[in-house]
């Protein structure tokens, strides 16, 4: 049995977990999420990490592997780093064992990852630079409309006649939305419109990775947005993508969980491969 930690340094928030892994048995002992809000992410990561140690009563040296992911490549207290797609794919399977795909939607990115049953990444697709379909954009618009983040989902679901946002550029899309408001569109219809546009792109990503008939797990911060999830469910049907969309209340931790599990896996593999000269 080993204890490992996963630290996911994102653009919007830092997520940390500690897991206890015993062969096939994987258990999350503690988890913490801290919003970055213009603070130093690495420092926050340390804070979150300490907080978890305290919560579990473990000491740093009890951990077999501290795996960073996300933008935490330079995290001083990490043993090693895994890249986001590697970790989200694995985290997805932990949270939803039937998943063969993960859709990681965060503040500035969307990534669809196809994995096998062991969590190995088979292929992936990322949104390109232009980001009118990003969480950040949605956040700005919600702010503009006077809506709290956790209200977005419910409102969106009340929509009766959504209108999609067509611009590829978030700046121009913002103006689109302003136009909509001035034309008297309701907030639910606007939000749903944005959700559908985002879902449209995301569904295309999923399709492009070639994930077949299976469950796709939505991870990342936007997994909590029930409106987006609903829109995604509609869009995959519209586009004939044969997948089932699911998520989990801990979806924001998928990356951190994946990292912690891979940490244990790597720990074992390194133990076998001791002869390999490793540079730091």
């Amino acid at each position: 049995m080993v204890y490992t930690a996963g630290v996911d340094v994102g653009t919007g928030a830092v997520k940390c977990v500690i897991t206890e892994i015993d062969g096939e048995n994987e258990k999350v002992l503690a988890k913490t999420l801290l919003r970055i809000r213009q603070r130093d992410p690495n420092q926050l990561a340390r804070e979150a990490f300490d907080h978890m140690l305290e919560e579990t009563g473990l000491k740093e040296e009890d951990l077999a592997y501290v795996a960073s992911t996300g933008e935490g490549e330079s995290l001083p207290f990490a043993t090693g780093h895994f890249y986001s797609m590697t970790t989200h794919g694995r985290g997805a399977i932990f949270l939803e064992p039937e998943a063969r795909g993960a859709l990681d939607v965060g503040a500035l990115h969307g990534r669809a990852i196809s994995v096998d049953e062991r969590g190995k990444v088979l292929s992936y697709k990322m949104t390109s630079q232009c980001a009118s379909g990003s969480g950040q954009f949605l956040e700005n618009i919600a702010r503009y409309l006077g809506i709290a983040q956790d209200e977005i989902g419910e409102l969106s679901k009340q929509s009766d006649d959504p209108e999609r946002v067509s611009s590829i550029c978030a700046v121009l899309a913002e103006t689109d939305v302003i136009n909509m408001v001035s034309r008297g569109l309701t907030a639910p219809n606007i939000l749903k419109g944005i959700h559908l546009s985002m879902a449209d792109r995301l569904a295309k990503l999923v399709k492009a990775t070639g994930i077949g008939e299976s469950v796709v797990f939505v991870s990342g911060g936007l997994a909590l947005d029930t409106g987006l999830i609903a829109a995604l469910q509609e869009e995959v049907v519209n586009q004939n993508v044969p997948v089932t969309i699911r998520t989990h209340e801990d979806a924001a931790f998928a990356g951190a969980i994946g990292a912690a599990i891979w940490g244990a896996f790597r720990h074992e593999k390194l133990a076998q491969l001791q002869q390999l000269p490793l540079a730091s």
Binding site: T11, Q38, P41, N42, E71, L108, Q129, C130, A131, S132, S134, Q136, F137, R143, Y144, L145, G146, I147, A148, C169, A170, V171, L172, E174, T175, I178, N179, V181, S182
Partner: protein
Amino acid sequence: MKSFIGIDLGSTTTKAILSNEEGQVLGRGITNSRSNYETAASVAKQEAVIDARLYLCRERLEQATGMGEQIEQFIGDLGSFFRKEQFLEQLGDLEGTCLEKIEGDRFVGKEEAIKEALAETFRRLREEALVLYAPGAERKSDFFRDLAGSRYLMISEEVAREAQLGYDLLLNVYDKSIIEVENRPPSGQLKEKFQRALQEVLAHGSVSGIASEDVTGPVSDALDVDLEETYVVGTGYGRVTLPFSKEHIRSEILCHGLGAHMMYPKTRTVLDIGGQDTKGIQVDGEGIVENFQMNDRCAAGCGRYLGYIADEMNVGLHELGPMAMKATRQVRINSTCTVFAGAELRDRLALGEKREDILAGLHRAIILRAMSIIARSGGITDEFTFTGGVAKNEAATNELRKLVEENYGKVTININPNSIYTGALGASEFARRAIVEGRTYDDAELVAA
């Protein structure tokens, strides 16, 4: 008297200019463009009218003599008190609206506490308003949203903490109310507000020893001048949404060209950086556009980019320039994608770069892009004028001066403190010419519909 109005409905701000038959600018008005373009246009127009009234007051007072040096100060006070009146009026509206918005699950059981907190918040806001509009005080912005908004956020956070209440609840009520308030055109009773303001100036103004009878007459005179709206021309990004017929609309290119020419008749090249576009315009000796180029569909490097950066850093737009000026070196920034501006900033901060240095790099990047657009439109040959909101930003103008000199040698560079009004100025001139010079229509055609 006849008056001519030009309205520039920009993506970020809406500007209006009111001019007289001689083409002299009487008033300038500006507001933030908001979801309702019509409101934005009418607010800007009203602001211009207010400004014009102050102008007329000054004129009358000068004719009436007696006040000498003190006129400027007096007019300044009059303006301040007037704005305070208006601010309080809107603040009252905001408070009322906020109270209506306390509804829904999240507020259950907390209604009373929130009402109290709101009352306290608004009490403090009103208190501050007195300082904010004290004679001679500096304000960050004249937009209600900016002023009330940023203070509301600060104050309500304090109040929430003191009251041990969720800050997000107060934030939520505000977010829901501000748009509504903003989109209610302000009440039109200008004259009454001016009269009240005049009384206040007399009572608490910074100019001592004014005799009420010396000023009341001229001021009333000025307020009574009939500012007949003779012709309006609209321009700008949102011009098509204005309820004007085609004859009353001019493209922003023509308006910026003409406006720049009016300010600086020798201008041959105009650069306009607005919220969503950057334009390079070449004009001839008459202000007639010879050529123009705009940024392509990507809005990278436009004014809104700075907006995102300011939001990210949690500072006001006008603070960016001064911060960048403190840079000791310039970080090279290659991408000016607006959306990723924040990410790029964080990236660089994470690499240990200083905020000031990054900002300096960002400003340079914007100007580099603008330089390309100028080059596309034909480069700079003679006198050059920089217009649009970004011209207010000192770091940007500095960078521009440097780059223009590097690439085109020493040329005259004009940057007017009122450059943001250039498009509206051009539009008002088009309006004036339409009537006074009969360039487009004769009066018969202008009979109201």
